[in-house]
């Protein structure tokens, strides 16, 4: 347990130090939110309607774009070798790394989302609900992305390959995350069902992600 706590702490420290990406995700998120109105026009009614979708897509991209270095950085300096040789099971070790990434990238996105909702003219209660769906849904994005991060190690150069591999896998999360948000905002559909499915998706990916990532890393032993 101390080993995993140590790994979690180290990754969080790295994220906030020089060269770390802790607030980069939030900045990218803000840029996505800013760029969309330039594309669709500053019509506040329209923005309010598509606001939850913009926040979700922004969060999705901000989560995935930083993930390709999650394991590759440790591979490049030999840390991954030692992580493989540790007492902690590899599945839990990569899960700890993913959790550290979510705490330093995903959670700030969730916290920033209500603020950025102001730009999109989403009103008070609706913004709370969108933030709630993001809080529940973004861990799924990180842990699904973890599989891509492991593939990026085996393939030497990750880069844009990771989103290409991972984005299709995140489709269900996106669908139910936005469905839950819309249901609450428009009062058109029940909120409970999509929200519970979103929770289920997150719990599933928290299990599948680390197992698959560890399998990829073990298989790619070289």
């Amino acid at each position: 347990m101390t080993a995993l706590a140590a790994l979690l702490l180290r990754d969080m420290r790295l994220a906030v130090r020089v060269g770390g990406g802790a607030l980069m995700g939030v900045l990218f998120f803000l840029l996505v939110v800013t760029m969309v109105p330039f594309g669709v026009g500053p019509d506040l009614k329209l923005l309010a309607r598509i606001g939850p979708a913009i926040l979700w897509i922004g969060a999705l991209l901000a989560t995935l774009l930083g993930l390709d270095r999650l394991l590759a950085a440790d591979h490049d300096d030999g840390s991954l070798d030692l992580i493989l040789m540790g007492h902690a099971p590899l599945e839990l070790a990569v899960a700890a790394k993913a959790l550290a990434h979510w705490l330093t990238t995903g959670l700030p996105l969730v916290i920033a989302a209500p603020l950025f909702g102001i730009f999109l003219n989403i009103d008070g209660s609706a913004i709370g609900i969108v933030a709630l769906t993001l809080l529940v849904g973004t861990p799924a994005l990180t842990f699904i992305g973890l599989i891509g991060a492991a593939l990026a190690v085996a393939l030497e150069r990750g880069g844009l390959l990771l989103p290409v591999l991972v984005l299709p896998l995140t489709v269900p999360v996106l669908i139910f995350g936005i469905a839950a948000g819309d249901a609450a905002i428009l009062n058109a559909a029940p909120f409970g069902a999509p929200f519970l499915i979103l929770i289920a998706l997150t719990l599933t990916s928290v299990v599948i992600g680390p197992v698959a990532a560890a399998a990829v890393l073990r298989h790619g032993l070289d």
């Binding site: 020089v18 060269g19 607030l23 980069m24 900045l27 803000l30 840029l31 800013t34 109105p37 330039f38 026009g41 500053p42 019509d43 506040l44 102001i118 730009f119 003219n121």
Partner: protein, 245 residues
Amino acid sequence: MEWIALANPSRFLALAERLLPWLAAATALAFAAGLYAAFFVAPEDYQQGATVRIIFIHVPGAWLGMLGWAIMSVAALGTLVWRHPLADVALKTAAPIGAAFTFVCLVTGALWGRPMWGTYWVWDARLTSVLVLFLMYLGLIALWRAIEDPARAARAAAVLTLVGAVNLPIIKFSVDWWSTLHQPASVFRVGGSTIHPAILAPLLVMALAFTLLFATLYVSAMRNEILRRRVRTLRLLQVHAAQGA
């Protein structure tokens, strides 16, 4: 001749020590005068009521936000052309201060917008341009944070600053065009000549106060940065000293 002497970091430190108390005092005085004028001298707007007073913070914030980038551009030239370490320091320390003033402008704009437009944010041409400026500041700060070696970071940041300086007018023009494409006229117009003198005088005093505040913060930030770099150099020397041991 004196300017060249100033470019020596040690001389700058000595000057900063002497200058800072005066600058701080002048800032406090200007703010006292400006805030008094803003609250008690300036009349309320017949439409906007007391809300109009927010422009005494909003407008100087915007000016200083833009001035910050202008200062950085000059410093960037110093970094790239003369490769002077003090220019690096001037370039780096202006970014967070400029970003802070830009942020003040954005927040006050949003607070003003709430009673005026019924919403905190409207994609008004002016506000949107300021938002883009703010984002560029944040990008520049992120760049500084991404590179540990200050000399290397300075050259990268200098290029980005100059590219930004060239692009800012283009961005401003584009945003104006984009905005008029979508909405006929901007709600918030403070054209120079239409301002009533009773508003203009406090505004100018506040602008002076903000400029002095900027200068105070800037000089002390530069002093801190020079000291921080000396600490870094000492630590590097410590590592080399340990090499022999």
